[in-house]
Symmetry: C2
Subunit: 333 residues, 2 copies
């Protein structure tokens, strides 16, 4: 099915301001069952979109099979398809786009599900990276609505170390004079290339480079991996969109809501879903320790660490499809 749009008007935001029109781009695959018990929500990751989520996490014959489940793929605010700096009219255009949080994203997705799609219960919410963060957010923000959750390589609260990474990305990108405080006439190419270089060092793992796994991307060395993969990828994105998503990521914290008032363990304890959190052992910014902590405070939580030299990028490793599918099956059962 093609991308569709859900719109909320005068959408007030958690950290202040509002979007006159908040557009949520989404796509569905499969059909909602008569009893409404087969809806699976898959929010997008940083710089990803609904198509990427579908490609890597679902498919006919896989655990998340559109023949069996009603799959809903959403796009982050700031992701380029939903309302974003790159596509919003004044007064929310470019450098004036406001700060949005996971709370805002999930509230908008909730409106889509309940007001348009007729979905009252989620059999599963899953996602990778920022998609995983949204899965945690769903489980804490609408606990009565989420039966199971599988956050892959994400966190319920963004860690200090992770924030240093995000800060480095932000500083490098906004340093490009072409960026012009977000009102650039052409893309800040050099800033995006510096962004790509920083990302390349965090996105996979040390052994990924030592063992030469970049060869699977047609690269002979680190420089070609950067040139052939990371640079074109980030040059294809709008700088303000990336920065909007980074800010959402940085502010990630399921306890930052009136219900929990900053009490992180209280928020984790409020999650009633069967939650299997899936960190990657060599993930450079979402370490297993944080996921273990979260799982240990979630009543029906379990941590299933996956080993991979692909580090944070593990869901892109074709050899791990069965591993992830087994975890989805477990959560869906």
């Amino acid at each position: 099915m093609a991308v569709e749009y859900f719109e909320a008007h005068n959408f007030f935001l958690q950290k202040g301001g509002s979007l006159p029109v908040a557009r949520l781009a989404y796509r569905t695959s499969g059909t909602l069952s008569p009893t409404g018990d087969n809806a699976v929500l898959i929010p997008s990751w940083f710089s990803g979109n609904d198509e990427a989520s579908e490609t890597y996490l679902t498919g006919t014959g896989r655990a998340l099979d559109p023949e069996k489940y009603f799959l809903i793929f959403t796009n982050l605010l700031g992701g380029g398809r939903s309302s974003s700096p790159s596509n919003s009219p004044a007064p929310s255009e470019q450098g004036r786009f406001p700060t949005v949080t996971y709370y805002d994203n999930v509230r908008l997705q909730h409106a889509l599900l309940t007001q348009r799609l007729g979905v009252e219960h989620l059999r599963l919410v899953t996602g990778w990276s920022m998609g995983a963060c949204q899965a945690y957010q769903w489980a804490a923000q609408y606990p009565g609505m989420v039966r199971s959750a599988v956050p892959i390589a994400g966190s319920a609260r963004t860690a200090s170390y992770n924030k240093i990474f995000l800060l480095a990305l932000r500083r490098a990108l906004t340093l490009d004079p072409v960026y012009a405080d977000g009102f650039y006439a052409s893309p800040p190419i050099r800033g995006l290339k510096a962004f790509a270089a920083i990302y390349a060092g965090w996105g996979t793992s040390e052994p990924f480079f030592r063992l030469g796994h970049y060869e699977r991307f047609g690269a002979k060395n680190h420089a070609e991996f950067l040139e052939y993969f990371w640079e074109p990828f980030y040059l294809g994105h709008d700088a303000n969109n990336l920065l909007t998503q980074l800010k959402t990521w940085e502010l990630g914290d399921i306890s930052d809501s009136p219900a929990y008032d900053g009490d992180y363990t209280k928020a984790l304890a409020a999650i009633t879903a069967k939650l299997i959190t899936v960190p990657i052992d060599k993930d450079r910014y979402f370490p297993p320790e944080d996921a273990e902590f979260a799982a240990s405070h979630i009543p029906n939580g379990r941590c299933a660490t996956v080993e991979s030299t692909w580090g944070h990028m593990a869901p892109m490793d074709p050899n791990l499809k069965e591993t992830f599918d087994a975890l989805f099956h477990e959560a869906l059962s």
Copy 2:
């Protein structure tokens, strides 16, 4: 003893060009024994100097005791005390300073030792980070002259993954429009702050942040750690000097010389010194695996991995002084 200077004229460089005058800033502590068997060379690390080496690695009552050994502390070319972009006259000033390698640095240090200090044999060469890289370089470049070597958290050849980190630092710093291709009128503050943010994410380790070790630096969180420690540190350095040292680091390879012609295992096999390489288990860019590989190809080599949540910064951890001293004692015995 105060800093002294050794000068070599018309100093030709490995990668081309020359320095009309190559100045090597150094300091000594202790006295050379009549038989000349107690000289210990300690080259400086990235953005470090002779004083920092002395403070962290030596001292009365420690293994490297100036009462017993003739300690020689050298400064890297580009380090700000030896010939550097910041202190060289035309035609080598600022952005015109040439590329220098470990080979060049060690050749100049060799001239200092043999032509001025009367040192024909090194009881030990040690150092941390780029100091460790120079220790490897010494052992391969002048094998007959080095009795033992203890490279701490460094490598004999800069790894692909390490180069990605260096590239990110270079791109961020040179992106600052103030940098002006190396001919800046005032320091590129924003570039240096972006540099500091990238470094903060690599210099220690994930658990250093998760466990809140930044509190030992008076910081309550990652942002204060950056503000109180990393930013002032790098704002105190000259941008061109940092970039010169980065280039030396990037080109690190003991086999890049006429003697080995790029054959890395041949260069390692040629090391006759008793070499104890000391990687840190959580070092983000000099992993134990690279050190183990090197040690396994050095006839008299051994790898002694040290565990520390301080990661690459382990030698700054006061709790590890005895650990390092024990390794120095072993090498000196």
